[in-house]
Symmetry: C2
């Protein structure tokens, strides 16, 4: 996978790294048991401090997306075919979604438009899943 950093973004670099790895899992580009580069390697590739990569990996581990083994390094722990989410994950996610939807409504975004946008984006992630009819 290729990670592209926006250095002038408001989003911290470690968050951008984390977001792009999560997105790659969602699109199916990264699958369970795929090894990630070492923090030093990825840091060198991206020209960022390895502590920054470490922070991204720590977050991904905390969120259950990767596991980190001292010997084999970081590997993808689950992918979108690994079955339903672990207990509590869906509820914690929904709590955060609730706030995001509150923002949309407070900003004046139309309910139907929010649903349409959500549907379109979900379709984009899962497009590769579909088999020919």
């Amino acid at each position: 996978m290729r990670i592209t950093l926006a250095v002038d973004s408001e989003i911290p670099i470690y968050q951008q790294i984390r977001d792009q790895i999560v997105t790659a899992i969602a699109t199916g580009e990264l699958t369970a048991e795929t090894p990630l580069p070492s923090t030093r390697q990825l840091g060198a590739d991206l020209a960022v401090n390895f502590h920054t990569v470490n922070k991204a990996y720590d977050l991904l581990r905390h969120e259950g997306f990767i596991r980190v083994n001292r010997k084999s390094g970081a590997v993808i722990r689950r992918d979108r075919t690994s079955g339903p989410p672990e207990p509590g994950v869906a509820d914690a996610w929904q709590e955060r979604l609730t706030i995001m939807l509150a923002e949309a409504v407070a900003h004046g975004l139309d309910r139907d438009e929010v649903l349409a946008r959500t549907d379109r984006m979900l379709a984009a992630f899962t497009a590769a899943e579909r088999t020919e009819p």
Copy 2:
């Protein structure tokens, strides 16, 4: 409105204050031009440092939910009846929603379930909008 803080939460206090004010705008409890308590007042009410309240207000101002006037203090700038969002707001929001949906898919949440949850939550916010048939 009443703000309730979860001191043992992973979510920082300033973020909890910000989230609850955004939610109150979404539900229609807080409407445009409603004044918010001063940072010292709210800090005292919640037993938190006023700098923490200040951080929440700064974020809300940056996001366009409130305006802060040296004389009149913080007031709600827009509410959900203020019309469509300002330019760029919907796109910035959608960028963040994309990441949240990527998380859901990567965690194995089912697409239909995500849509159903989104629909339910939007309905909860906007329930008060509906007039009797």
